[in-house]
C-alpha cells in the first residue's frame, strides 16, 4: 500500500467532512420524501364539484391483503349528494394497525378515490384510535389522529414531519 493510496482514502474522508450533512434533525425539521412513498391514505374529492370520489364499491376492501378496510355504502339523496352517482360510502374505515401500506387499495379503486399519501406519523396509544374513518382521511384533513388531538389541545396548527413531493394522484391534497 503506497502513501498515495492512503492519501486518496483520506481524501475521500476529507471530502465528506466538508459536504452538507445528510442528517435531518427530525422532528424539528421536515423530512424529504420520494413522490411514490406510501403513507397514510387520503380520500379525495372531485376538485370541481367538491363531491367525494368514493362510490362505496368496496373493491379496495376486496383487494386489501390485510383485511384492513371496511366499507358500508348507502344511497345518495339526489338533492344533496355526497358523491357523484347513486352510491356513496356511508362508512369508510381503515385500520392503520392492519394496513401494510402496499397500495393495492389505490390500484383497485375505480375512481381514484383512495390514494396513499406521504404522512407516516401514525403512532397512537389506543387500539381504537388506529381505525381511521372518513373524517380522518378526506381531503382537507392533515395529520394523524394523534397529531390533530395534540394540535387541538395546544391550539396550534397541525404540523406534519414530511416535506411532500408533488404527486398528481394526490389531487387536491395540500400538506
Amino acid at each position: 500500500m503506497s502513501v498515495l493510496d492512503i492519501a486518496k482514502g483520506m481524501g475521500v474522508t476529507l471530502g465528506h467532512l466538508f459536504k452538507r450533512p445528510y442528517t435531518v434533525s427530525y422532528p424539528e425539521q421536515r423530512v424529504d420524501i420520494e413522490p411514490r412513498f406510501r403513507g397514510r391514505h387520503h380520500l379525495l374529492r372531485h376538485p370541481d364539484t367538491g363531491l367525494e370520489k368514493c362510490i362505496g364499491c368496496s373493491l379496495c376492501a376486496a383487494a386489501c391483503p390485510a383485511y384492513a378496510i371496511y366499507v358500508e355504502a348507502a344511497e345518495n339523496d339526489p338533492d344533496d349528494p355526497v358523491s357523484a352517482g347513486e352510491r356513496y360510502a356511508k362508512i369508510y374505515e381503515i385500520n392503520m394497525l392492519r394496513c401494510i401500506f402496499c397500495g393495492f387499495c389505490e390500484e383497485a379503486c375505480p375512481t381514484g378515490a383512495v390514494v396513499l399519501g406521504h404522512e407516516f406519523e401514525l403512532a397512537d396509544f389506543r387500539y381504537q384510535d388506529f381505525v381511521y374513518g372518513k373524517e380522518d382521511m378526506l381531503v382537507g384533513t392533515t395529520g394523524s389522529k394523534w397529531q390533530r388531538r395534540e394540535a387541538a389541545a395546544k391550539g396550534k396548527e397541525v404540523r406534519i414531519g414530511v416535506e411532500p413531493a408533488p404527486r398528481p394522484e394526490l389531487e387536491g391534497v395540500d400538506y
Partner: protein, 813 residues
C-alpha cells in the same frame, strides 16, 4: 339417443335440448335468456354452437360418408341457438371451433354495446352472469366509442324492486317469469330495438312472487330494494337453510354481513319450491335487525325489569317454581319452533311433571293426513280442489298448483342439475284451468286461474264438505246443503265427478277448514269418499312437526289459550296473548310469568322474567313441512346479543333445577329424536327427506273446542306476517299495512274510506288496520290477517269500538 358433444359421446333422453347436452357432457356454453323451470325462447343468441346431424335417405338408411363409411354429418348452415335446438339421433354439437368462439365473442360485444358497465356500484357485481360471461367469453376490449344509450337508472317498479333500465339486456326472463310461473302478465317490453325497456301499466307489481325476478335477472337491472347497496356479493355470509315463514319449508339462502341479515334469496329444492319463494319469505326478515330487540335476560325487581345474566334469571325462575307444584306450570311455544325446541319443551314439562304444554297457533283439526300428498303430487295432479286462500297461506302451493295447470311434469334432473332449457315449456302455454276448483268464503287470488269457484258462507266449511260428500254418495241435496255449496249444484257435481275419476286427485285444505274440528273431519271424510290425497296447510312453519312430536297438552283444558287461566306459572315463547286486554288482566294474576321473546311485547311487559329469544334465522334445528318432509334449519351469523332458542332456556333452567335435561342443546335434542324417530337429523340433506316413520300410535290430539261458528270478521291467512309487519318497512309499504278488507256496502255503513287507518277490537284483541274497500269480500263480512295469537277463523268484532285514526284520501289520477 346418442349425441356427440365435442367428441364426448352421450346417451340422452329424446326431447333434451342441445344446451343441456353440452352441460351434461361437462362442457359449457354461455347463455343469458334460458332459465331453469322456464321456457327457452332463444332471445339472447349467446348460446350459439355448430350443430349437425346425420340424415336418412328415402329408404330410411343413413346417408353415409363416402370416405369413412360412417353416417355423414350435415351441418346446419348457420350456428344454432342450442337452447331452442332439440337433440336428434347422432347429433354432433361443437362448441370449441374458431367459428363458435368468434360468434361468442361478438355476442358478448353486442350485448355490451349499451350496457353501462357500472359494476362497481351495481349490487349484482361479483355474482353477475353478464360479468362472468364477458370475462370468460369476451375479448376484453371495446371498439365502441360512441355514447351509450341513456335511460332511467333508478326506477322503482314497486316498493320492493328497483329497475335500472340501462343495465337491462332484454333477455325477457322477468317478463316470462310472471306469465309462466304465477301466471299473471305483470311486466312487458315496451318500445322496440335499442329503445326497448321493461315496464308495467300497474301501480307496483301486483304479485306475491315479484321478488323472484331479482334472482333470475342475469344482470343488475332488477334488484332487491331492501338490500340496495348493503354489501357486495363476496362480502355476504351465505347460509343455505329452510324458510320458517310458512308451512311449505322453501329453500332459501340467508345473506348476512357484519351480523345483520341483508337479504334472503331463493335456493333450489326441486321437490319443494323449485327456485321460487314468495315475497313474504324474501322480504319479511327486516324485523330481525330492529334496534329494539331484546339482547339480555331481565328479571322484575321492585316492579322494574332489570337486566341480569342467564344463570341469574334461571335461578330466579327455579326459586319461584319451588313454591308451586310442577303441574301448575304451563309451557307454550309458537308453532314455528323447531323440533329440537319441541323436545326441549317436552323434557322441561316432564321434569316439572306438568301436562300443560302446547304450541300455538294450532288448528282444532289434526294436521296429519291419512293419505298425504306431496308437493310433487300436487304439481302432477289431474284434479285439484282447494279450500282456502293458499296464495296467502303458503305461496309455494299456489305456484305448484299452477305447474299442474300446465300439465308438464317436473323435469328429470340431469348430471348438471335441473335442465337449463326444458323444451316442453312454452310461453303463453294453454292452462288446464278445468282441473282446478277453488272454494273460499271470499274471492281469493287463485280463483282467477280456476275452472270453477265456490264462494261459500264464511264458517261453513263443515257444511260445504258434508254437502259435497252427500253428492259423492249419490244423494239428493237439501236446500240448506245447496246453499252451503257456494256454487250451483251442477258445478259441484262436476267437481265431485272429476275428483272421483281422477287418478291423481289432491284436496288442499287450508286454515279455514282446519280451524274447526268438525270441518276438518268432514274434509277428511270427503277426501276418503272421492279417493283423493290430502294436503293440510298448517298455520306455521313447524305446525306439522310439533303435532307429530306431540307437543300437546294432556287435557283439553290445558290447551293454549285455556292454559293461560289454568296454570299458576307460565313459560310463554314468542307469543303475545296480552294483546287481548282481558287476557292481560288475567295474566297479571299468575304467580309467575316467564316470557321468551325477541321484543318487549305486551306480555313481556307484564312478565316477571323476560328471556331474549333468537329469531328463526338464528337457530339450528329441524322443521317438518306440510308434506311431512324433514328439512334442516341452519343459523345465519346474526348478532343477537345473549339471545337463546328454547333449548337454551331449558339448558339454563335445567341447570338451575339441578338436572341436565334432554333437549338442553340441539345435539342432545337430536339424540332424543333419533331414538324416537330413528332418523339422524344431523345428517339431513339440504332438500330434506320424507321418512317412512315407523307405525306409531296416532298422537292423541287434544284440542280446545273451536269457538262456536259465527262472527263478522274472518281472520284470514296473510303472506306477510302481521306481527312483524311494522318492523318490516319495505314489505309493509308493498302490502299497504295490515288490511281490513271491507265490502263497499259495509264501508259506507261503517263510514270508513279506502286507506283509512282504523283500530278496532276483534275477538277481544285490539287490532290496527288499514281499510281496503273491495268487492272481493262479500257484504256482511270483513277479513283481517291472522296473528299467531289470533288464528284463522271467524270471530266477532265489536264494531262499536271502531276508531278511525286518519283518513288518507286516495287521489285518483
Amino acid at each position: 339417443m346418442k349425441v356427440v358433444v365435442n367428441d364426448i359421446e352421450l346417451d340422452l333422453a329424446p326431447g333434451t335440448s342441445a344446451i343441456d347436452a353440452v352441460f351434461a357432457a361437462g362442457d359449457d356454453v354461455p347463455y343469458f335468456c334460458s332459465q331453469e323451470y322456464m321456457s327457452p325462447i332463444g332471445a339472447c343468441r349467446m348460446c350459439l354452437a355448430r350443430v349437425g346431424s346425420p340424415r336418412k335417405d328415402r329408404d330410411g338408411n343413413w346417408i353415409l360418408d363416402e370416405e369413412t363409411g360412417e353416417p355423414k354429418i350435415f351441418w346446419f348452415p348457420n350456428l344454432m341457438a342450442t337452447c331452442t335446438t332439440q337433440v336428434t339421433e347422432g347429433m354432433v354439437i361443437d362448441t370449441r371451433s374458431e367459428a363458435v368462439k368468434n360468434a361468442q365473442n361478438s355476442m358478448v360485444e353486442f350485448t355490451l354495446i349499451n350496457h353501462p358497465l357500472d359494476c362497481p356500484v351495481c349490487d349484482k357485481g361479483g355474482a353477475c352472469e353478464l360479468q362472468d360471461r364477458a370475462y370468460e367469453y369476451g375479448d376484453g376490449l371495446s371498439r365502441f366509442e360512441f355514447d351509450k344509450r341513456r335511460s332511467e337508472k333508478h326506477h322503482e317498479l314497486s316498493e320492493l324492486i328497483t329497475l335500472d333500465r340501462e343495465r337491462c339486456i332484454h333477455c325477457k326472463r322477468c317478463v316470462r317469469f310472471f306469465e309462466e310461473v304465477p301466471g299473471d302478465e305483470v311486466l312487458d317490453f315496451i318500445e322496440r330495438g335499442s329503445h326497448t325497456y321493461i315496464g308495467t301499466v300497474d301501480a307496483g307489481l301486483p304479485s306475491n312472487f315479484s321478488g323472484n325476478i331479482t334472482d333470475i335477472c342475469p344482470v343488475g337491472a332488477l334488484l332487491d330494494a331492501s338490500s340496495r347497496f348493503r354489501g357486495r356479493n363476496w362480502e355476504y355470509d351465505h347460509t343455505r337453510t329452510t324458510s320458517m315463514d310458512d308451512a311449505t319449508g322453501s329453500a332459501v339462502i340467508v345473506d348476512a354481513r357484519t351480523g345483520r341479515i341483508e337479504r334472503v334469496k331463493a335456493a333450489l329444492n326441486p321437490d319443494v319450491n323449485k327456485t321460487w319463494i314468495d315475497d313474504g319469505t324474501r322480504f319479511g326478515h327486516e324485523y330481525v335487525d330492529s334496534p329494539d330487540r331484546l339482547t339480555r335476560p331481565m328479571v322484575r325487581r321492585n316492579g322494574e325489569l332489570q337486566p341480569v345474566t342467564w344463570p341469574e334469571a334461571a335461578a330466579y325462575v327455579a326459586e319461584r317454581l319451588k313454591g308451586l307444584s310442577g303441574k301448575d306450570v304451563g309451557i307454550v311455544l309458537r308453532a314455528d319452533s323447531t323440533l329440537e325446541e319441541g323436545v326441549a319443551a317436552l323434557a322441561l314439562a316432564e321434569k316439572l311433571g306438568t301436562g300443560q304444554v302446547d304450541h300455538a297457533p294450532r288448528p282444532a283439526g289434526s294436521l296429519l293426513p291419512s293419505r298425504p300428498a306431496t308437493l310433487t303430487d300436487l304439481a302432477t295432479a289431474d284434479a285439484i280442489f282447494v279450500v282456502g286462500d293458499v296464495t296467502e297461506e303458503a305461496g309455494i302451493l299456489d305456484l305448484r298448483i299452477k305447474d299442474a295447470l300446465k300439465g308438464v311434469t317436473p323435469p328429470e334432473l340431469l348430471p348438471h342439475g335441473v335442465p337449463i332449457a326444458d323444451l316442453r315449456l312454452k310461453e303463453r302455454m294453454p292452462r288446464r284451468a278445468e282441473i282446478l276448483t277453488v272454494a273460499a268464503p271470499y274471492r281469493v287470488d287463485l280463483m282467477r286461474h280456476a275452472g270453477a269457484s265456490h264462494l261459500y258462507p264464511a264458517g261453513g266449511e263443515a257444511e260445504l264438505f258434508r254437502a259435497l260428500t252427500a253428492l259423492a254418495g249419490g244423494g239428493q241435496l237439501t236446500d240448506e246443503q245447496r246453499a252451503a255449496l257456494g256454487a250451483d249444484e251442477a258445478a259441484a257435481r262436476q267437481l265431485v265427478d272429476r275428483l272421483r275419476s281422477a287418478s291423481d286427485g289432491v284436496l288442499v285444505v287450508g286454515g279455514f277448514a282446519l280451524a274447526r274440528r268438525e270441518a276438518a273431519e268432514a274434509a277428511r271424510a270427503f277426501a276418503r269418499a272421492v279417493g283423493v290425497k290430502e294436503l293440510l296447510v298448517g298455520p306455521m312453519a313447524n305446525s306439522h312437526g310439533l303435532e307429530l312430536l306431540g307437543v300437546l297438552p294432556s287435557h283439553e283444558r290445558y290447551a293454549f289459550p285455556g292454559m293461560l287461566q289454568e296454570a299458576k306459572a307460565l313459560i310463554v315463547s314468542h307469543l303475545d296473548p296480552a294483546k287481548d286486554p282481558d287476557v292481560a288482566a288475567s295474566l297479571k294474576e299468575r304467580e309467575l310469568l316467564v316470557v321468551h321473546d325477541m321484543f318487549l311485547t305486551e306480555t313481556a311487559r307484564l312478565a316477571d322474567v323476560v328471556l331474549p329469544a333468537r329469531s328463526v334465522y338464528e337457530k339450528d334445528g329441524t322443521v317438518v313441512n306440510l308434506e311431512g318432509r324433514f328439512l334442516p334449519v341452519r343459523a345465519a351469523p346474526v348478532e343477537a346479543g345473549q339471545a337463546e332458542d328454547f333449548t337454551g332456556v331449558v339448558r339454563y333452567l335445567g341447570e338451575a333445577l339441578g338436572e341436565r335435561l334432554e333437549g338442553r342443546s340441539v345435539r342432545s335434542a337430536r339424540r332424543v329424536l333419533k331414538r324416537r324417530l330413528e332418523l339422524d337429523l344431523a345428517e339431513l340433506p339440504d332438500n330434506g327427506v320424507i321418512p317412512r316413520l315407523k307405525a306409531r300410535p296416532a298422537p292423541k290430539v287434544t284440542t280446545r273446542e273451536a269457538p262456536a261458528a259465527g262472527g263478522n270478521v274472518l281472520i284470514a291467512p296473510s303472506m306477510a306476517r302481521v306481527e312483524y309487519l311494522h318492523r318490516n318497512p319495505h314489505l309493509n309499504a308493498a302490502v299497504g299495512g295490515p288490511k281490513l278488507s271491507v265490502n263497499p256496502a259495509d264501508a259506507e255503513g261503517l263510514g270508513v274510506m279506502d286507506g283509512a287507518e282504523v283500530r278496532l277490537r276483534v275477538g277481544g284483541v285490539w287490532r290496527d288496520a288499514v281499510v281496503r274497500v273491495t268487492e272481493a269480500v262479500p257484504a256482511g263480512l270483513m277479513t283481517l290477517p291472522a296473528l299467531p295469537e289470533q288464528g284463522v277463523g271467524l270471530v266477532q268484532a265489536d264494531l262499536g269500538s271502531l276508531v278511525v285514526d286518519q283518513v288518507r284520501l286516495e287521489v285518483a289520477s
